[in-house]
Amino acid sequence: MNLHEYQAKDILRGYGVNIPPGRIATTPSEAEAIALEYGAAVMVKAQVHVGGRGKAGGVKFCKTPADAKEKATAILGMDIKGLTVEKVLVTVAADIGSEAYVGIIVDRATKKPVFMVSAAGGIDIEQVAAETPEKILYVPVDPRYGLPSYDALRMGFFLFADVKLARGAGKIMQQLYAAFMASGCSLAEINPLVVTPTGELVAVDGKMVIDDNELDRLPAIAALRDESSEEPSEVDARNANLTFIKLDGDVGCVVNGAGLAMATMDLVKYYGGEPANFLDIGGSSNPEKVVNALRIITADANVKVILFNIFGGITRTDDVANGIVTATRANPLTVPLVIRLTGTNEELAMKILTENGFSASSDMDEAVQKAVALATGGKSA
């Protein structure tokens, strides 16, 4: 789960990181009022879950409250990479002397949280890693012991020659690390970490990505989820305990298991079709899941055919068959259905489907080819 900049900053402020004051506005007048209260030049920043906000015109410097109102008018309602800006952060603008980057990720290779720090801040760290890798220092942390002071100071000196700044940066790294661990992050970064002309360290932008597996035990973090910034069908699916990702094609897919779901999408493409979604109904055979899956997929007007691919291990295929019958009885489908199922209780499932006027195959390739042919009007496959 991604947090908004203002949410990440609120958390980091709680750990002592020096961050300019800022508040959220949802109307231009609110933005003006906040700027007036601060009595200083402000930044008005779009709060959406995409990179490149600045380039898209979603981040503006404002000298006066009237200016803040005008810029907020332009930014609120703006479309950035398909997402509508619903709120802006109005925050006191910092004087920038130099910019550094400080981030932590969970690294798959070392299987540890790893710090990445660079004096080349203010730009995308992936770009720095690709173009000037020597400008990044990587420091893995053993989470059983935490971040030792000597490592924090070593990173501080990698960024700043001045001992006061190095110590200050080391302290910020300890604060960032504490926030990262306590918030269940898979990524946390401050970019840029600014040194002002008067020698003060200020975190001007912050980002946090939370491991979804942490949300059950961190209710305060889970409550930060902003459903208005997500695809509605994905929110619907999550509330129904389904893993769903919307894509641009026309073959709706209902599969059990993530690996098989990806392989099914790939096979649709292999035979000349385009998958409309990733959908994993998981290991449980609750017929309710099938009902929800069909509701979510049929809400997508692009879908021309629905393909079931079920390999019954723990999942009982007769439960899936019953779910299909129940769901289509309640809401008759307007698009054709292609069913492949095999495994646990396959014979019973086939019987249930046949008795209710459905046909099913036990072969994955056969079913996918048929679905693609139906979606493309027989032009492919």
Partner: protein
């Protein structure tokens, strides 16, 4: 022969009285796995299905039964502790089926089990099966048959699909290992490939990877430089969009890294067979068995 488990595997099931644990305990017992103990705190002294003794702790279970392998079905918030408990009790092989273990928990568990010299498989995995000898986890026994193919995969049902197609074509397996779909897991492709390379009964290896991370690329390098046996590979997620977690926590393309294309390129460079579809495994493996 086989890898990791065989007829001498003596299994303790952590979470044996839970919904999933009890269901799969019965399945494993029916398959012929030596289930010697179960652990559920507070139920020590009772018996599961009238035969398997239940203990309060793994340490008690090991002392009383000599269990050498553990399988974990406890809920996600307790899974990391259950893994460490098994490792501390002297279990040599720990298989964690639980899905949804926080990755920061795994950053602490991983060095702990390594320092104990314990092999961890998973979490978020279907376990493993040596057809005809022993099954630990949830892979359906009836889709497997003994034979010369070693199977290793990051997925569950996709593994079943491929194994089922192999078995239907009359091609059996030495051992099938599901290493799990999480970003940090105890056993990786290379560990399994090395074990299959050493196993005299394994002639060909089928390997099913996914988008995300660099494990498959490193495995391809291992195949190229360290292996004599042929390996056939598949990558799921060729149509996955970047930046989205495709069900498995580890199945995500970050920036431009971890794509299916770069993994398939690595397979090609290693001279591996490449299955474009799950069904391609059958012919590619048949050719390599000669």
């Amino acid at each position: 022969m086989s890898v990791f488990i065989d007829k001498n595997t003596k299994l303790v099931i952590q979470g044996i009285t839970g919904r999933d644990g009890s269901f799969h305990a019965k399945q494993m017992m029916e398959y012929g796995t030596q289930v010697v103990a179960g652990v559920t705190p507070g139920k020590g002294g009772q018996k599961f299905e009238g035969t398997v003794p239940i203990f309060n702790t793994v340490m008690d279970a090991v002392a009383a039964t000599g269990a050498n392998t553990s399988v974990i079905y406890v809920p996600p918030p307790f899974a990391a502790d259950a893994i460490m408990e098994a490792a501390a009790a002297g279990i040599a092989l720990v298989i964690c089926i639980t899905e949804g273990v926080p990755v920061l928990d795994m950053t602490k568990v991983y060095p702990f089990v390594k320092e104990q010299g314990v092999r961890l498989i998973g979490p978020n995995c279907p376990g493993l099966i040596t057809p005809g000898a022993s099954k630990v986890g949830i892979i359906p026994g009836r889709i497997c048959t003994p034979g010369p193919v070693g199977v290793v995969s990051r997925s569950g049902t996709l593994t079943y699909e491929v194994v089922y197609q192999l078995t239907s074509a009359g091609i059996g397996q030495t051992t099938c290992v599901g290493i799990g779909g999480d970003p940090i897991n105890g056993t990786n492709f290379i560990d399994c490939l090395a074990a299959f390379e050493q196993d005299p009964k394994t002639m060909v290896i089928a390997m099913m990877g996914e988008i995300g991370g660099t494990d498959e690329q490193e495995a391809a390098d291992f195949v190229k430089h360290q292996m004599k046996k042929p390996v056939v590979g598949f990558i799921a997620g060729q149509t996955a969009p970047p930046g989205r977690r495709m069900g498995h926590a580890g199945a995500i393309i970050s920036g431009s890294s971890g794509t299916a294309a770069e993994k398939l390129e690595a397979f090609e460079a290693a001279g591996m067979g490449i299955a474009r579809r799950p069904k391609d495994f059958v012919e590619l493996i048949r050719e390599r068995l000669g």
